[in-house]
Symmetry: C2
Subunit: 301 residues, 2 copies
Amino acid sequence: MSAGLAWIAVDWGTSALRAWGLDAGGSVVQSARSDRGMGQLAPEGFEPALLELVGDWLPEGIVTQVVVCGMAGARQGWVEAPYAAVPCAPTGDGVMQAPTRDPRLSVRILSGLSQAAPADVMRGEETQVAGLLATRPKFDGIVLLPGTHTKWVHVSAGEVVSFRSFMTGELFALLSTQSVLRHSLGAETPDLAAFDAAVAATLSRPERMAAELFSIRAADLLLGQPGGAAWGRLAGLLIGAELAATRAYWLGQQLAVLDNGAQADLYARALEAQGAVILREAAAAMTLAGLKAAHARLTEA
Amino acid sequence: MSAGLAWIAVDWGTSALRAWGLDAGGSVVQSARSDRGMGQLAPEGFEPALLELVGDWLPEGIVTQVVVCGMAGARQGWVEAPYAAVPCAPTGDGVMQAPTRDPRLSVRILSGLSQAAPADVMRGEETQVAGLLATRPKFDGIVLLPGTHTKWVHVSAGEVVSFRSFMTGELFALLSTQSVLRHSLGAETPDLAAFDAAVAATLSRPERMAAELFSIRAADLLLGQPGGAAWGRLAGLLIGAELAATRAYWLGQQLAVLDNGAQADLYARALEAQGAVILREAAAAMTLAGLKAAHARLTEA
């Protein structure tokens, strides 16, 4: 067990699981992570996976509250936490008690958000948006969450108004590791000038994305284009096409980018080249802030 | 050995190998195929793979000419047959003798085509274009060759003027089998109304492709969209974006589609909805016709 532990915050994604132990004042007294993501677990596997990670933290004889966000609440997860429909607060009233055997545990899973038209869903990102609003209560504008499925979230008056998801991260991963382009993308330093040029090309003429992808391979075969330039072109073509599709989200809007590393750097670079002014916050810190806000609300209730 | 065999035509692609034995009049007297494509062979593996397929056809004591098109001439193939640069005849003067040990064989590999700007290459499709021109010598217009990397080829006065390649086929394969969308694409009958609507969406606004892909997943989760509709939407979004990028190639042009089955049907459907008039020829027949034309030219020389 862990001295001072009051409750546990968990971010349970498709490919990983992260837990923080917090004291009554909200300070982190423990943290741990594992690769036992939702993608590899059957419903009955979630409690053992959680206990493997945090079992040693739990005091005997009392019930420790656990608040979970992310894919653990998906239909194929621990227990389905139905989506809350926008417009609504980012972590709305939706919460689902998960079935548990260990008497030391009480686990609640936060709902994701859904949008009817255009059809869209999120699970986990809503908690990061809640964290941003807990940190900056007056924020009004667009939150960009780079990832496998990047999200653009319009926030106003403390609510999520609308959002759109883009498969840009997954497309980049598939094209760079599974397609014919994998032969042409090197491990060299990414060429940011090639990235900038490709963003400009597809931002102004998004149909170029389809036309230019194979040219990355051809330019390698014919001209010996370096792998770093190929990498920059591929990333730029995809991100430029996404920016063309999201112009209404970022043009003239207050913009916060949740920082997950290199991918957020590329989005920020492309947006700043268009004159956007960007606020950056660390994605993991926003997840924890959002889980704390949800715990506070659940404790009050 | 095979009575009447005069020479052998071979189409050697990345994933398969197809051979025809022809008599002096150009009639097919033998045919065979195997899955020993260029992708799985080292340079020294090509001759054994060919002999495995056609060795029994070869008369003893004389040399049989073999004419090969496709990826066997790539840098990682049997021997590199350098690209011929457009504008030029579809199977130009480029041909490379492959190294062989068996005294019964003389193998020549046809060159592919290259284009400097925009950078582009093809290997194999040029032989199909040559076959179309052998069949219809006066053809002047655009040849569309659907495939993993679909090609649009502008032909005029017997030459390839320019061309563009699109990764649409490979993108569809990756997205439908490797991405999150695989969960939502069923084996049901493709929904052609969903296909038509998606083509129209990205043809008029190509930036929608990036925006709409994830909606295919969300519409399944939220609305139980059938797998056939998801399939149609994915195919339509990709093909519509390609048509947006190739408008100058197909608008008001004479158009021939080389028919490889279901994929060609979708392109033809989308183009006909835009008022295009399409000539269709079977892709395999055009390959053989192109190899015959190349053999005739090599024999004359």
